[in-house]
């Protein structure tokens, strides 16, 4: 009887021991370096993208404010401009997308890859 209880206790202690045992596998030694590298790239990307969005917002905002001012100051003069824009809206939209895309490549993508190249040359 006593031996049974002893065995039970022994089993319980073995289960507890097994439950508290750390896994045999461990993280690779470069885990933190890789992760910090990823975070740095994310920060660069975020910074460049925010800068790009702010510049676009500034240009778009200026045009909108100018347009509103013109509408209020001389509504008759603005009519031909609006008509012209509506007439050529397809070309204007395509041109706008093209300019935006080129500007995005120049301000975000190229700068991102350039910085990435510099940082990889610096650290590796």
């Amino acid at each position: 009887m006593n031996s049974d209880r002893k065995n039970q206790n022994e089993i319980e202690s073995m289960i507890s021991e097994a439950l508290k045992a750390e896994p045999d596998l461990s993280l690779s030694s470069t885990f933190t370096d890789k992760l910090v590298g990823k975070v740095k790239r994310y920060l660069v990307w975020k910074e460049l993208f925010t800068e790009f969005a702010m510049k676009i917002g500034l240009v778009a905002g200026t045009f909108i404010v100018l347009g509103i001012c013109l509408i209020f100051r001389s509504p008759i003069e603005i009519n031909p401009v609006i008509l012209f824009l509506f007439k050529n809206k397809q070309i204007i939209i395509v041109l706008g997308i093209l300019i935006l895309f080129t500007y995005f490549i120049d301000q975000v993508l190229l700068r991102y890859f350039f910085r990435k190249k510099i940082s990889s040359e610096k650290y590796y």
Binding site: S16, A18, L27, F31, L35, V39
Partner: protein, 200 residues
């Protein structure tokens, strides 16, 4: 510049530095909590080939969301919550884990593992292996509470905060999983008893 790797800093300062985008502070945070996340991921997802990528994903989420940390709980509890949610999302996405929502699991349905025949090699290591195999067959909620309670030594309250399960459920899962493990080990004890207890 902050020399986070060489100096001790408290969590408030650490969080403030990480929020400011200090990657040295983030490195310190990762080193401090990577074992917690690694243990959780290994126990929860089982597929070990995805484990390291998932750990990276968890820490990137931690970095992005650190601004949302209000200090209501310990930083480790908050990171464990992110790890738990990410693992659950991963399991849902992969759709490999069928039983993660299982509420009432019968003891008999668990621990269906192929046991090696008891041999002279049976010892504490063998019991450990059996226990880990049985854990892998359990639903994810059981694995979560077992890992957090025994391996990470967290309190019921902390487990409740991490998983969102009521304290009573946590206790019940712990008791049931302990019972399952006990039953499974007892099944093999008649075979291994001579080796286990006759050594003295």
């Amino acid at each position: 510049m902050l020399r986070a790797t060489n100096t001790k800093m408290d969590n408030t300062e650490l969080i403030a530095q990480v929020k400011n985008g200090n990657t040295n502070a983030f490195r310190f945070l990762v080193d401090k909590h990577k074992n917690l996340v690694w243990h959780m991921v290994l126990r929860l997802i089982i597929q070990h080939e995805d484990a390291e990528d998932l750990c990276q994903e968890i820490f990137i989420r931690v970095f992005k969301d650190i601004g949302k940390f209000r200090g209501d709980s310990k930083l480790s509890t908050w990171i464990a919550t992110i790890a738990y949610n990410t693992c659950i999302d991963h399991l849902r996405k992969k759709n490999r884990e069928k039983s993660y929502t299982a509420g009432n699991v019968k003891v008999a349905e668990l621990g269906q593992i192929s046991l090696e025949t008891a041999s002279a090699k049976v010892d504490r290591q063998y019991i450990k292996k059996i226990v880990h195999q049985v854990i892998e067959t359990m639903p994810v909620h059981y694995r979560t509470v077992i890992t957090l309670f025994y391996l990470e030594e967290m309190s019921y309250k902390e487990i409740e905060q991490i998983t969102g399960m009521p304290e009573g459920t946590v206790k019940s899962y712990l008791n049931r999983s302990r019972q399952i493990l006990h039953d499974k080990v007892m099944q093999i004890v008649p075979d291994i008893q001579p080796v286990l207890f006759d050594q003295d």
